[in-house]
Amino acid sequence: MQTTLKRREFLRAGTAALVGSSVLGLVSCGSTNSGTPGSTPLKLEFWGTTERDKRTRQVISLFEQSHPQVKITSQFTDFNSYWVKLGTEISGGNEPDLLQMDMSYLAQFTQRGLLLDLTKDIPDPINLTDFDQVLLKGSEANNTVYGVPLGGNYQATFYRTDLLTKAGVGDPDPNMTWDQFATYTTKIAKALGQGVWGTDDGSNNGIIFEVFLRQRGKEAYTSDGQINYSKQDLVDWWTYWDDMRKSGACLPASLGAGAPTTNTTNPPDSPLLTGKSVFHFDWSNLIVAWQKFSPTKLAMTVFPQTAGSQMGHYFKCSQMMSISSRTKHTAEAASFLNFTINDPGAIKALDIERGIPGAATAKTILKPQLTAVQQEELAYIDLVSQYARPKAVLDPPAAGQVATAFMLYASKIAFGQISIPAGADQFLADAQKLLKKA
């Protein structure tokens, strides 16, 4: 069912695409231009919400306009249900042609040979010459391209500017160290009184832990998929946050490290937005979603640093689009991938909702249509890239399970159910078991 609004929209976008394509000459128009419209069906699946669905459908319409013999049907669901459905489809031999892929599943899917190796489709039809090479490299498995990144994001800290003013402290300095961060947030918590804490508890957050490790010069995993950090790293990390809990600087267990995390916890009911915490750790592209639910202004800054260390942040591929290795329509699917990342109409349609696009022209194309919050996001990207260096090792298949174990032990420690050294020992033992199995 198409509404008139939609038709108008894609006519407008379609015109822009034609103009754009004649200037840039990047859109491969009808290379397989034979046969009747809709003769090549492609199935596309992704995760997200209605917002992302609208944009994706726009891209599909644009693509079908210039490739009338291809008909793409798309489906989406929430992140967790996506993998349930995808796994079932694969086990039944019914996988979609185009599938959105996440870095945490990439290793497993490539090991099972489920994703198409795109090497021979580059540069034609998939043109990656003006594509962000850091982003691209960070999305590869075994130095091979298995999908095109649809966006990248950086780790970020969101914070409540209004609460900082209320506490009488200035904005955080990007060069602040972990110790300085502890002092800073303790001051904030004291100033704001009962029921408000300085920051979220990061002890159960594998993402910040990874950044912390990289500041110490090590990746989280070795290239053959083993844990690359020591018990001491864990003890240092968990002790730091334990001290923060004790001093009241970060959230107590029941609100922070131990609080249940479900699909509907964030953002509206999060401590940041309910005024219990001033700092929150997340991904840069989610600032839009968070600001939407926040009546007060949220600002962004980098994670605390480790003095005299390496840079910890890295540009992460937020999601990519891959082709199933069992697809019957490689050419059309690859053509669609190229369209998605290079076509100006597509870039405009997708906006930065999935993260920062990789095409060099993207920033210029998108600039006119970015909202204030999105411009802040871009400004943050410029800032954090100075504190980043590329991630060298892809997470092994069992990394997700290790992350779950990490969260579990962190919450047990937070609730005092286990001591830090014992927790570290048990976690490492569990992690090794999990990594061996995979």
Binding site: T49, F76, N263, F293
Partner: protein, 296 residues
């Protein structure tokens, strides 16, 4: 069991059958029920109120009465997907009604056999029937998916409805068995003496007497199917055959920008049909008894 003569009695609905263990004044009963009502209804009322609030106020405005009243959530939510929610509601209705019909007929047939007939290995089959309820359904999804794919039933309502016509919801078989067993066999006996065969016994005597149980089966079938999203998630690919339950999952995800207003608005709308079905059928529970004949 005392002798009961056959006579039709229409019990007046307002007749107080005071077999409560305690003799409470009416007042306290009503007070209790009203407090209970608040507890029962609060989340539904919250959801209703949230559906009329703008997105950024849903969580910040704590009161049940919206500070700012808007219909945006309903309008946006209805058309948020490529297919309008009207189609989803229609699909859900079709699926649910088919499931109700399938369950009522196939489960009552099986229940009659278990409850009233003697046959080889009856105990064994009864245990098998119960066993099918004991395995978590999510585990069977993968092999069932392969089965339905090979039958070519994906993207249709068939995986959700066809099995129900073959009594795969053993829950209702068991329910109906227990109900039928509360019906004394004297009527069976006299009917048999009059020459009734098993099917007439089933159709003419026991099914009318089991109307409360059948109504319960219908209500539960409808409500469970209406809210079931796992089956539709896995078996339905084409959005035009989506049901409401699976469509409702499109609005909220922590990896994207969630639209809570829309999910609450569509959630409220999706509550209405089930609530209405419930009201209609639960009246049959009472009327089924009053006109059922045997019961005095």
């Amino acid at each position: 069991m005392s002798n009961q003569s056959l006579r039709v009695v229409g019990a007046p609905r307002n007749q107080a059958m005071s077999f409560l263990p305690f003799t409470w004044p009416r007042f306290f009963t009503h007070l209790f029920l009203i407090v209970g009502t608040v507890i029962m209804l609060y989340p539904a009322l919250w959801m209703l109120s949230a559906s009329f609030k703008p997105s950024d106020q849903i969580f910040s405005d704590p009161g049940l009465w919206p500070r700012t009243f808007t219909l945006d959530n309903y309008i946006n939510g209805w058309n948020a997907l490529d297919t309008s929610f009207g189609v989803f509601f229609l699909n859900s209705f079709i699926v649910c009604i088919l499931v109700v019909i399938g369950n009522v007929f196939s489960c009552s047939l099986a229940a009659f056999a278990f409850a009233r007939m003697r046959f080889t290995l009856r105990g064994f089959w009864f245990a098998v029937m119960l066993a099918t309820i004991m395995l978590p359904g999510s585990i069977l999804i993968v092999p069932q998916y392969v089965l339905f794919k090979s039958l070519g039933w994906l993207d249709t309502f068939l995986p959700l409805t066809a099995p129900k016509f073959l009594a795969t919801d053993a829950f209702f078989i068991f329910l109906l068995v227990q109900f039928i067993r509360t019906i004394p066999t004297e009527l069976d006996d006299s009917a048999k003496i009059d020459g009734c065969g098993p099917f007439q016994l089933y159709w003419r005597i026991l099914m009318p007497l089991s109307l409360p149980a059948l109504a319960t089966t219908a209500i539960f079938s409808f409500i469970t199917t209406w809210g079931d999203f796992f089956g539709p998630l896995i078996y339905l690919n084409d959005q035009s055959v989506y049901t409401v339950a699976v469509a409702l999952r499109s609005f909220v995800d922590s990896t994207g920008t969630s639209d809570y207003g829309a999910v609450f608005a569509m959630g409220v709308l999706s509550l209405i049909p089930v609530f209405v079905i419930f009201l209609i059928f639960q009246r049959h529970l009472i009327e089924g008894i009053a006109t059922s004949g045997l019961k005095g």
